[in-house]
């Protein structure tokens, strides 16, 4: 099978399903309206300007929180991982905190800090912190002592040690952590918007469901899906770039 026909075949399934839905779906259906109605609903929301604002609000929370989690998680992971005694002492505590599902922090955080503007960034960065922190911690612990000792022997500067030993060893694990953290951040951001009625796609989705506005629910679901796919592709691209720059290190 050549490449062209493979692309066509992979496109065929989703397109065929959507066409089938369009053909048999009842436009007035309260539960599963056909795709055409999603499009017109999305157009109406775009024309009113609310969809763009909601997507921007959600993305802002996700990007800001991922950035915070990335910086704090990498720093904490590297510091804890570089000292075996410390990382051994904190391991069970981290293990328990990690097994608390991040979405369940949302109600507790609402109690403590209210449902203001800080809530989203706080909870989402906390949720995104764990995958990055634990990945970096493990990568730091796995740096072979010979590598560090070689640096000592060659008497390279601290800056050079960081750039040539620590960053190449840790960076792939940061990216791997991000691949888990960012989808999690999207989930928690949507949940915060739903539970605390903060502006964003999550709140729009929930209010569309409460109004029994099925086309809007599916339009927003598709929007969220597109965000998910886009983020996934971006992260894959980032991972490829890093592994091209650092061949042979990491895995």
């Amino acid at each position: 099978m050549n490449k062209m026909s493979r692309i066509l075949l992979s496109l065929a399934t989703p397109v065929a399903l959507l066409c089938l839905w369009q053909a048999v779906g009842d436009p007035a259906s309260p539960i599963a309206p056909p795709p055409q109605t999603w499009l017109s609903s999305a157009q109406a929301m775009l024309a009113a300007g609310e969809l763009q604002l909601a997507v921007l609000a959600t993305l802002k929370t996700v990007v800001l929180s991922t950035f915070i989690a990335g910086v704090v998680g990498t720093a904490m992971g590297a510091i804890l991982g570089a000292r075996p005694a410390v990382s051994e002492a904190v391991a069970p505590t981290l293990e328990f905190l990690r097994s608390v599902p991040p979405p369940t922090i949302v109600p507790v955080a609402m109690l403590l800090i209210g449902s203001g503007a800080v809530l989203g960034a706080t909870v989402v960065s906390l949720a995104a912190l764990w995958p990055i922190l634990l990945n970096v911690l493990q990568a730091t612990r796995a740096i072979h002592p010979t590598l560090v000792n070689t640096g000592h022997t060659l008497r390279i500067s601290t800056r050079s040690k960081v750039m040539n030993i620590y960053v190449p060893s840790i960076l792939p694990s940061v990216i791997a952590g991000l691949r888990v953290a960012v989808p999690l951040a999207i989930i928690v951001a949507l949940l915060v918007e739903m539970l605390a009625t903060r502006p964003g796609v999550g709140r729009m989705l929930l209010s569309a469901q409460r109004d029994f506005d099925a086309p809007a629910v599916f339009a927003l679901l598709s929007t969220v899906g597109l965000i998910g796919v886009g983020v996934n592709w971006a992260l894959e691209w980032l991972e490829r770039c890093v592994s091209r720059k650092l061949p042979g290190i990491g895995r």
Binding site: M1, T13, P14, F96, T104, I187
Partner: protein
Amino acid sequence: MTGHSRRARQWLLPVALLGAWQLAVMVNDGFNVLPTPTEIGRALTESLIDGRLVADAAHTFAAALASWAICLLIGIPLGMALGTFSTLRTMLSLFIELLRPLPAVALIPPAVLVFGFSWKTEITVTVFASIWPLISSSRAGIEGLHARIFETAATLHLSKWHTLRSVVTPAAFSQILVGARLSFSLCLVVSVVAEMVGNPAGLGWGLVSAQEAMRASETFAYLFAIGVLGVCANFALGFAVRRLLPGLAQAS
């Protein structure tokens, strides 16, 4: 360092943190919403005694288990089929690529439209969100098999069904098990989330309703219970995997 003192050091941090928390709240009147660990402990024992917490945990665990069973029933055959037939793989690749990154929470509103606020919503959302690791690990389990395995089966003139049952499935088993384990942890988390927004029952709903009633110590008690359930499930699964496949535990 002996194992004994290492164990002691591992307990040091949580105990110190809890002690500092207790003291900070008791000394400072400003933290009027934050309960002390002893208050949380009292709320925990109260809800344990009146049976609410146990009933909620049982609901969540049952929902997660049921969803996991559905994931196993659909995910393993689908993944194995994807690993075996390249045409099917091509046909479904983009479809899966589009559905998989869909955040689980976003699925709750359409599921509520279809099923109402019910256990059906919870199970649908949980299955949808937790099936992906099983599909990809079953697929990878088959794709990773050496061609010689199939050649040997062909040399022995095994039927297709016999090859699948006695050659392919055992060879891919360890990979599938990894996906099954991941899928169960996801099932537990997603059912709690689905209960928070989509199905008013179980631990997720208990957590949200305690928060909405501003019962702080009960909210923390529920959070703690969810954490403990997660740790126990993880431990039990790890134990089961080690029993089933002693070799795998050393590899991972």
